[in-house]
């Protein structure tokens, strides 16, 4: 694989975390324009831990994700009573607030004669742990996809358990869910924290791949994209947002041949897609159809297996 392709795949992987983060909230019926805030918080927190405090990469990543989760926990309370558009605006305001705080956030220490640490709008240079530990780009890409698989496995596990059913109930009708006995506050805070941690993992990975982060990377467009991935890919399963990321970055890369008209072609393709698949590529109906197809073939496979076992 050439370097460019590795970089593209690594980017797809990292952006997938923020797409999945927005997806968790979409499941519970909330549209957040602010998941980039948790991506940013963890990027800074993990970068500070490895570059300034001398932590290793893994503890740094866990710390970053934990700080993002804690921030999400704090945000969950004021936004709990907000619904729909108000939640979207509330999360957007929060994310912009976080970004503007990083614009003025200075915390630097001298390491080997060099000032290291966040320097307001100048950004945060020297998050070099990965390069100093001789981890190659390919290895780092594998780390990204390993963590992404873990998050995906976690989300699939959730979908199959009671918790998944609760999230979907809340997503469809909060009040009706409450009437069934669901503790709305508890589960909404839980979803917000899970979403924050997932975005945080992506943020920590991002900071360490790029070695340099600055506040303007984490602007509202990142949040808009992270939402769009779920909507383009479909919300039937956690694969939807991933398909959205792959499609988005794949289209962006493959429309390079259109040079100046690239974004026009790209926008047109996204618009076409949403005209033909308004609920995304892998929407609930598609997932439902695939599942029932699967179930039709599965009994045949099972009887065959039991037939094979019979002679024992």
């Amino acid at each position: 694989m050439d370097d460019h392709l590795i970089q593209v795949f690594s980017n797809v992987g990292m952006i997938s975390f923020i797409a999945l983060s927005a997806y968790v909230l979409l499941l519970t019926g909330e549209i957040s324009f602010g998941q980039q805030a948790f991506f940013a918080i963890s990027a800074y927190a993990s970068g500070i831990a490895t570059a300034m405090w001398g932590w290793a990469f893994w503890p740094g990543l866990v710390w970053g994700a934990a700080v993002a989760g804690a921030a999400a926990f704090l945000l969950a309370w004021p936004t709990l009573r907000m619904r729909g558009l108000y939640f979207a605006i509330g999360t957007l305001a929060f994310a912009e607030m976080v970004r503007l705080i990083f614009e003025i956030f200075r915390y630097q220490v001298e390491i080997e004669g060099e000032l290291v640490g966040p320097d307001g709008s100048e950004g945060f240079r020297g998050i070099r742990y990965i390069f100093e530990s001789d981890i190659s780009a390919t290895q780092y890409m594998l780390i990204i996809y390993l963590l992404l698989s873990a998050v995906l496995a976690f989300l699939f596990a959730i979908e199959r358990t009671r918790l998944g059913a609760i999230f979907r109930m809340l997503g469809e009708d909060e009040l009706l869910a409450e009437m069934q006995g669901v503790n709305r506050t508890y589960y909404k805070v839980m979803a917000t924290v899970i979403a924050g941690v997932i975005a945080g993992i992506g943020g920590a990975l991002y900071a360490h791949m790029n070695t340099y982060i600055e506040p303007k990377i984490f602007n509202v467009m990142l949040g808009v994209h992270s939402l769009a991935y779920g909507l383009i890919g479909g919300l039937g399963t956690a694969f939807g947002p991933l398909i959205g990321v792959g499609l988005d970055i794949g289209l962006l890369e493959s429309t390079r041949i259109f040079t100046g008209y690239r974004m026009v072609v790209f926008g047109g393709l996204v618009a076409l897609l949403l005209i033909f698949r308004p609920r995304g590529l892998l929407d609930e109906a598609a997932v439902h159809a695939i599942k029932s197809l699967w179930r039709r073939f599965l009994p045949a496979a099972q009887t065959q297996r039991s037939n094979n076992r019979a002679p024992d």
């Binding site: 979907r168 109930m169 469809e172 009040l175 009437m179 069934q180 006995g181 609930e284």
Partner: protein, 238 residues
């Protein structure tokens, strides 16, 4: 014996009091019906009993337990299930998923499948459509599903908020047949209705609510003899 006793309940939306001191009681094993025009506070009362709205003051006693101001999960846990008005089902969940949602607080998960089976026995249409999204069902089927979902909680008291609303007359007959059936099987029912004619065929006791206050309390016979009710709710021909 009264299983549900409501005493001087006041519930307000901001400064506007929708319930201005409502008191009533629901007898065990009976069908009690609350009649009243739009905006009288019927749904507000149902929401207050089920813990979605918090009353400003007053007491709600269910089997001696005080439920006023308790969250919905406590109320459901005590055995009070609501069939809400209008927002009937989870539209993008299948029929079966909706039924399972109703059993959310049940600790005896092992008995849920047999309860689902008995729901299907009562409503064969729901079995035919068990894999279908609830939002694609007809209005009557959605009402049946909403009732079934409430039954999945194995309630001691079933609250029904205008189950006949917006349904065709034949289906309304069906719904009331089911209400009577459930009652015969031992479920206490507190019914909110605007359809006084249908309610007269099933209910054992009536209350009339107007502008947040109970203005009538009596048996079906007493109600049929009340001149004001006759004119306003039963039509002049009765």
């Amino acid at each position: 014996m009264a299983v549900l006793e409501i005493n001087d309940i006041v519930t307000a939306y901001g400064k506007i009091e929708a319930l201005k001191g409502v008191s009533l009681s629901v007898a065990e094993g009976k069908i009690t019906c609350l009649l009243g025009p739009n905006g009288a506070g019927k749904t507000t009362l149902m929401m207050t009993i089920s813990g979605i709205l918090k009353p400003q003051r007053g007491a709600i006693r269910f089997n001696g337990q005080d439920l006023a101001g308790k969250p919905a999960r406590t109320v459901v846990g005590q055995g009070v299930a609501l069939v809400p008005e209008n927002r009937l089902v989870f539209p993008e969940m299948t029929v079966e998923e909706n039924l399972k949602a109703g059993a959310y607080l049940r600790r005896d998960a092992g008995k849920v499948p047999s309860d689902i089976a008995s729901v299907y026995e009562r409503f064969p249409r729901l079995q035919e459509r068990r894999e279908q999204y609830a939002g694609t069902l007809s209005g009557g089927e959605q009402q049946m599903l909403a009732i079934s979902r409430a039954l999945m909680a194995r309630p001691k008291l079933l609250l029904m908020d205008e189950p006949s609303l917006g349904l065709a007359p034949l289906i309304v007959e069906d719904i009331f047949r089911i209400v009577r059936e459930l009652n015969n099987e031992g479920t206490t029912i507190f019914l909110v209705e605007q359809n006084a004619h249908m309610a007269l065929q099933v209910a054992h006791h009536f209350y009339l609510i107007e502008q947040g206050k109970i203005v009538f309390d009596g048996s079906p016979d007493e109600m049929e003899e009340d001149e004001v009710i006759k004119r306003a709710y039963l039509g002049s021909k009765v």
